[in-house]
Symmetry: C2
Subunit: 210 residues, 2 copies
Amino acid sequence: MPKPTLRELSRQAVKQRVSDVAIDLFLERGYESTTVEDIAAAAGISERSFFRYFATKDAVFFARGAEYTAAFIERVLERPAGEAPWISLQTAVELTLTSFDNDVEFTKAREVREILAASPELMARQFAHVADSQRELGDALWDRWQADPARHTEDPEIRLVIRALVGSMLGVLTEVMLHAEDLPPAERMRLVRATLDAIRPARADLGGAP
Amino acid sequence: MPKPTLRELSRQAVKQRVSDVAIDLFLERGYESTTVEDIAAAAGISERSFFRYFATKDAVFFARGAEYTAAFIERVLERPAGEAPWISLQTAVELTLTSFDNDVEFTKAREVREILAASPELMARQFAHVADSQRELGDALWDRWQADPARHTEDPEIRLVIRALVGSMLGVLTEVMLHAEDLPPAERMRLVRATLDAIRPARADLGGAP
DNA sequence: GCATTTGTGGCAGTCACTGCCAGAAATGAC
DNA sequence: GTCATTTCTGGCAGTGACTGCCACAAATGC
């Protein structure tokens, strides 16, 4: 309620509305055949103003996705600092899947993924975002690893190792989200668990099988 | 020398030349500030014709990269069919690194990667291409797995597992190519070996530690 | 109440990319 | 070699994403 927030608040509200309108249009006519002008008109703003809220056309689509990604990263970092990276990642994946199944916006999210899968251009951006998250999360886990005196090491490859672990984890998560959404939640969870167990690294300090 | 080849041959020659000219311009002024018109003019063709050779501006950049990717996939598939997927992948990575170090175009390739790293737009496309390769290679390895009666299985997750293995492998390879290019070849090879050993899956049929 | 900051629409311009068309060039049959 | 056919090419107009600039309106601070 303080003064600086008010402006920001209305800005967020407008962004939200524009994003909602845009998603609806994408669902109706597809991403490519919806112009920014269409979106702006439907949202009641000018095209010029659209680009003051979103840097690019695809940003309006990913506005929501970024929240999911941030939530996932947050879940990983909420795990105890001394935990093996693989275990932290695995736990966060399971929490994410569970919360996702309970999401009231489940149907909406599914439609959004249809838009995504139908547009190669959007898919490319999506992969880039995932890669960014991978780097961000990998670095965060690496910092945490370095901060723990018990396992502090000068190994140059540990950074690479951690990034690779994050990469395979995100790969499985993305794959499941895109191609196993028809499965009932329990079955999907079982599939993810089995997959993660299969590729679990052997090294104990990374989270190797008990 | 047969008739249908002649046309195709000159077409390939033109593509090659346009691509070379374009890379030079990108190195000089950067990717974003080089227009398609610039490239076309420098190559002695019209802008309209440029788009008859390359579907998009970035295609002219990736014309070469696609060959490297194809070569990597080929190396994996040249491995004996019964070999564990992880071993096939690891061997192909090492072969790729070795051949890369011996490449006469090493310097050029390095400059090309600089262009890539400097442009977020190109990076996004690059990730998308890697993701495509991941799918392609994963499916190929999966087919091979299914074809082997000794380990034929109806496990629904084995496909996911193999894709994840490919993903972490490509992740390490990409990371090393982009960020460890300053290391001497022998040191880089050691780094890659150590990383791959660390994340090697425990399961023996996938290629687990001996 | 007024000065300053911030947000807005309009307009012109750049750049990637496409469809269309008319002319040049290579190809193949005779 | 000639001619009809196919293929390639440049030019041109148009669309759509995106930016810089400007004048004006609205909110904010005092």
